[in-house]
Structures are given as C-alpha cells and as structure tokens.
Symmetry: C2
Subunit: 342 residues, 2 copies
C-alpha cells in the first residue's frame, strides 16, 4: 500500500531489547493502521517475544540479523565490519527503499555513523544533525545539534537552522518557528569564533525566523523554538538537563524528609510533584530525529520502554506524511551532480 509508513525497527538495540522493543511495535501497529514494522534482529528471539501477542500479522515482519553492536564498541569500526547487525540490516532496508524510516534505541554512535554510511546524506546537506526535543516552560524546543558534529562550521549551523525550522513547523506544528543561536550574551559581537562568524550570516537568512542569540539561562524558559549550536555544546545542554533535573529531585526529596512537616507535605504534594518532573524529563519527549538523510532515522533513548518505542514509531508517520525529507531536499538539496554524499 502506498499510503503505508514502513519502519525498520532495531529489535536488538537498547537496555530493554528485545522485549520492550517488540512490545512497542505491537502497540504501535495496533494503534495506527497506516503503520507497518520490520522487526530487525535475531529471528528466534523476536519470534519468542511475539508469541501470544495480538497484532495484524501482515504489518509486522521479522528480518533476521545475526550480529550485535554494543554501546561500548567503536562505532565506525562496528558499523563497517558488522554488516549483519540489526543496525546495518535495518539501515539497508531504508537505503533500498523497502522502509521509509529507521528507529533504534541502540548505540547512538553506531546510529549516527551508520546513517551517514548506509542511508547517506541528501545531496547538498553538509552534516546530518541529531535533534531532540527538550522540555521548556512553554512546551518544547528543538535542540539542534546533539549528534556527532562537535566541530561545526558556520555553513553547517545555518543548515541546522533551516532543517530545524522545517521540523518544528511540520512535525511539531509551530507556525513560523523562532530560531535562536546559543551564545554567551545577547549582543551580536559576543561569542566564540564559530558563533561570531555564524551570527551575521544567520541574520541575513530570509527563510527562517531568527531571533538572535540565546543565553543558556533562557533555554528552559522557552527562548526559541529551534535552538542552534554545535554538537559539543548541544550535548552539554542535553546532558545537563538530565543531570540537573535528577539532582534537584533527589535534593528536594532529601529536604522534605528532613522535617516531619516536610514529610507530610511531601506525601500530599507527591502526585503533583511527580507529574511536573515527568513533564520536565527530556526522555519523555520521544525519539530524536536525525535530519538531512535520504530517509528518516529516529534515535530513541537507550532505556526506552514499549511506550517510548511506540511513540518513536508513530512519530515516523508524521515525518513521512509531512514529507520532511522532501522539504529538506527542496530547501537545502543541491541539483543532481552537485554536493557530496559522504
């Protein structure tokens, strides 16, 4: 069926594989009938997990892959060498057009590297950023890039701004999304060499809604819909979000438990508190798309459970139905023959 969205799912990736991954696939195909899933990994293990589950048999297909890639392996070596790993086999399904998207909760490094090797960049796209949604006071912002491009160039940050805007507008549904550049001050002359070189160029871009520099302090307040930075800075922001939230929670608990009054209050306030903190957990906001590829890649958290895998699969439907790939190709793509693929 042409209107179906076909996702290759890495059944072996993540802390809870294959059990939760397989369950997530079952949940997703039961919820959305336009979805079909290739469960890629060790056939006998997947088959065992599927036993007793109820789902439309024609929309889940097992694709055998015998090798494993662990998070500890050097990614470049692993994806080049282990051609029969679930990651490489699944990516090849996308490359050959048998699947529209690839979802994995496995090694981030292997996914980032493998995608460029096997799925390949859209011609004209310089680098393919990984762009998770992070929670803010106002909702969510797209943090682009948190991937492998730790030493980025201005032209790459400009492309991140464009791709991030397309994603936020068409997948998250924010009209004319604002774009901010992470900086150490709001003045144009502030910043390191990369940001100083990028700022004037970004300011000139007509097809994005650039609102200037954004200090890290303002990110949690929802300073911009698309937060642009190199992947080193993006990683620091993403991981500090995780670390600070968990530390604050434990400190708050500790503080409450130190007095009787606090203990009673804490017990009463617990459900509200829990809900709030859940809302502010970066891992609650679905998988991170990797943009600019010939096909979609979604990196789900390593500790993803069935629900998170289901959400990542459903995310692919919007991505494909909104033709994000086509829109990126249209805005950033080079005409045939131009650009590089690797």
């Amino acid at each position: 069926m042409a209107d179906k969205v076909r996702v290759a799912l890495d059944a072996m990736g993540g802390d809870n594989a294959p059990g939760e991954i397989v369950k997530g696939a079952v949940l997703a195909v039961n919820e959305r009938e336009e979805l079909s899933v290739f469960l890629v990994g060790k056939e006998e293990l997947i088959r065992k997990e599927l036993e007793g589950q109820t789902y439309p048999k024609d929309r889940i297909t097992i694709v055998n892959a015998t090798e494993d890639i662990s998070c500890d392996e050097p990614p470049v070596y692993a994806v080049r060498k282990k051609r029969d790993s679930s990651i490489v086999v699944a990516m090849n399904l996308v490359h050959t057009g048998q699947a529209d998207a690839f979802v994995s909760a496995g090694s981030t490094g292997a996914v980032l590297v493998g995608a460029v090797i096997y799925i390949k960049r859209i011609r004209g796209v310089e680098r393919t950023p990984l762009a998770p949604l992070i929670p803010t006071e106002k909702g969510v912002s797209l943090l682009i890039d948190c991937g492998a491009n730790v030493d980025a160039k201005p032209s790459q940050l400009l492309q991140f701004a464009r791709m991030g805007s397309i994603y936020m507008e068409n997948v998250v549904g924010i009209k004319n999304p604002t774009v901010g550049l992470v900086n150490v001050g709001v003045e144009e002359e502030k910043g390191n060499a990369l940001v100083k070189d990028t700022y004037p160029l970004m300011k000139e871009m007509k097809d994005i809604n650039f609102v200037g520099s954004v200090e890290a302090r303002e990110i949690p307040h929802g300073a911009a819909d698309v937060i642009v930075c190199d992947a080193f800075v993006g990683n620091v922001i993403l991981k500090l979000y995780e670390g600070l939230a968990s530390t604050l929670v434990s400190k708050i608990k500790e503080g409450m438990m130190s007095t009787t009054r606090g203990k009673i209050g804490g017990a009463l306030a617990k459900p509200a508190l829990k809900k709030t903190l859940k809302q502010f957990d970066a891992s609650e906001h679905g998988g991170a798309p990797m943009l600019g590829l010939n096909g979609l890649v979604v990196k789900s958290h390593g500790n993803s459970n069935a629900k998170e895998i289901k959400n990542s699969l459903i995310q692919c439907i919007t991505f494909v139905s909104q033709d994000i790939e086509g829109k990126i190709r249209e805005k950033l793509g080079a005409s045939a023959g131009e650009g590089d693929e690797n």
Copy 2:
C-alpha cells in the same frame, strides 16, 4: 598592619549599589578585624550610606571615583577610557600594592578586561579564568573557566586545571582535589578538537589529580572538584544551572497549585523545599575568583545584597592568607623576563 587584608570594593557596581555594597563592607569589617576596605566610588553617595552605621573608622576608607561603567557599555572601551571609574580606580589600588584584592558586583565584562589591563597577569600565566563555585549533590565544584576565554587552547586549559586545583585545595579545603575535563563522553577518543588535544596532555600532568572526561550529566552529581572547560562551555553550564533551577521551581509550584491536595502539601513542604532550592542556587556560593593575576579579583553577582558582598570580602581573607597568588606564581609563573604580561 602587615597582617591586614586590604580589599578595594567597587561601591558603584551591581543592581543594589551603593546601598547594599556599603552595608556589606560594614558587616564584613565588623565581623573580621583583620579586614580593611576601600570603598571606591562617588564620595558623597558613599558618605551618605555610611551615615548612622557603626564600624571601626580606621578600617573603612572612601576613595573617590567620579565615573560610572554600566553593564551595557563595551567593556574594552569603557575601562580604557573611564580612568576615573570605580572599577579602574579600585584596580589601580591593587596594581600599586595599596590593596590586596578587588571585589565588584558590576559589569563582568569590564572586570574581566580591566583586570588584565590594570592588575595584569602573573608572568607565565596565559589566560586568567573566572571560576565560580557551583552547587552539587556532594557540595560544590569549581567551574573553570566562565570568563572571557571563549576560544581557549589546550595549554590554557592545562593551566586552568592547575590554578583550579590550587584554589580548591587551599581556599575550599579539599585535599588533592579531583579534576575533570568537560566532554561529550568518557572515552579518551571522544570530544571536539580542543578536548581531544587537551586530554592526553592533562593525563600526563603529575601535579593534578586528573580523573578524565566528565559528561555534563555528571556535573550536578559532583563528578569532580575542578571542572575544566573553555569559557563558552563554562558559560553555558553556569547559565543553564540558573535557568533550569528557576524553571523547575516555577513548574513545581504550578504543579502543586493545580490540585487541592497539592496545595496543602506544598504549603507544608514549603520551608524544606525553599531551603533545598536555595542550597542549589549558584548565586549562593560567594563571588567568583579570577585567577592568575597579580592580586585577587572577585566578581560578585550583579544582584548581590549586603550579605553576599560581605561573603565576597571575607573570601578574600582566605585567598590572601593562603597566598594563592604566590602558589600560582610558584607553579605556573615564568622566571623574570619570560612570559607575557598582556
């Protein structure tokens, strides 16, 4: 008296100047008799603030300075041009040996730039980092650098590691403090160009207790006593700390107020909650020292009140009595004639 610690205090700097600044000086000299303070700024304003206050008259001296430097002015231009500003006059007191230290809650940019111009670097010190203490689960860590060195070199990060270790050991009192390098992963081959070049050199340093790369996620958990990074990354970390803490607090309040049960619980838990969050407020942990200068500079928060100014002044006593400047000179200083001063 030789055993006195003499601090030049910018009476005009910060949101609450001169009132809270002058009060802070009064509190400090009343608390510590080895301290004397030069209140630098508009004489008539300072005199008015001192009226009715009780303090040992011989330990507070007003030094007139007629010009103002605001936070909006380009720092380099301001400190070069406004020679009669409180910042420049106070720094000259340190440069000429009349004061041991300079404390300001004024323009960070002007303080950073002015210190290098007027107080000057110790010969052999390449760059002078600003190093605030940030709260962690275990206590505090020194985040070095959060100053002006947004495009740092490996040799500079190595010096930051040394200076930070000296500070944590002698001022904060942590024996053999651990040093971590901010990175996107813990493996030696991870990182951007700067971190990759720095890591092997830092690993070879015999006079610091290097524990390897530290991911931003681990910083709030207290991963290392000294957290080394370039000032761009340091600023992102420091400001995200501030932004996330305040956002989480407002989210938690909102969450509690959404149910009756939460409201009651919140009211009961409020004191414990407040104490915890205060403990995790980066601004509660004193001023940030600027290290590697011929004299001490402490940057207090822009919104410092009298108590915070008092704490910054008292911090100078430990710095001077522990001879941090001499220890840095001994470890990093070049012999006379070597090194650069500007």
